[in-house]
């Protein structure tokens, strides 16, 4: 059996406080410097230095179609299984296994893919929550050759963590103002 993947420690400065996301130990924490250098051996994991706030939102203003609807349900199921293992590292491992960066770009518009996801999402028997929906939507976009990334962010006072999907300078299916409340700390790219 191969050793478990190591993803590293990521950090962001929020209101002057150094916030660390220790993926391998599944912890968020405030820690005094000096910090580990926030680099990852995996090039598909992006640090806060490479992440900026989104400038617009892509909403599901498209037409659902059967094939991506079915794919969306499959993505939801796979992410749900990963979440049952209860650790962020398992979720990231699953995402990296799902992703195929060489996947050809589909003719379907991003809006159509998001609309397909939103059309079937109520049929999936799980509470809507970002740690399920954002990775599943990201996986769907990857499956259709779209260069989406799953971004993890946090805010302090009170502490809260969030994840969302971005393509280019846009956040997907989420109010930009909501996302800007969180400082990006790490992202998984296609």
């Amino acid at each position: 059996m191969p050793p478990p993947a190591r993803f590293g420690v990521f950090h962001a400065t929020i209101d002057g406080a150094p916030l660390l996301l220790d993926v391998d130990n599944d912890r968020y924490r405030i820690a005094r410097p000096p910090h580990p250098i926030p680099t990852s051996p995996l090039p598909r994991l992006m640090t806060a230095a490479h992440l900026t706030g989104p400038k617009e939102t892509i909403w599901p203003n498209g037409t659902p179609s059967p094939r991506p609807c079915f794919a969306a349900l499959t993505c939801l199921l796979r992410i749900s299984r990963a979440l049952q293992q209860g650790r962020l590292a398992n979720l990231i491992s699953t995402l990296l296994a799902i992703s195929r960066p060489d996947r050809p770009r589909s003719d379907l518009a991003v809006e159509d893919l998001i609309a397909s996801f939103c059309a079937v999402r109520p049929l999936y028997p799980a509470q809507a929550i970002c740690r399920l929906d954002a990775p599943a939507l990201c996986a769907l976009l990857w499956a259709y050759g779209r260069p989406a990334r799953l971004v993890f962010g946090a805010r302090l006072e009170p502490f809260s963590a969030h994840c969302w999907v971005e393509i280019g300078a846009a956040v997907v299916n989420e109010d930009r103002e909501d996302v800007l409340q969180y400082a990006p700390i790490m992202a998984v790219s296609a």
């Binding site: 968020y28 005094r32 209860g86 650790r87 979720l91 999402r121 929550i129 970002c130 929906d133 909501d178």
Partner: protein
């Protein structure tokens, strides 16, 4: 503690904020939640 650590330590208290995956739940009333509620209404 090394000399280097002494020099860079600040007054910021160390704090464990909890499990990363479990704490990732985002704001209530997001777009996905609204989509689910509309369909169920």
């Amino acid at each position: 503690m090394t000399d280097n650590e002494t020099m860079t330590t600040t007054d910021i208290p160390e704090l464990d904020l909890g499990p990363a995956l479990e704490e990732t739940f985002g704001p209530p009333g997001g777009a996905f939640e609204e989509a689910v509620e509309k369909r169920q209404a």
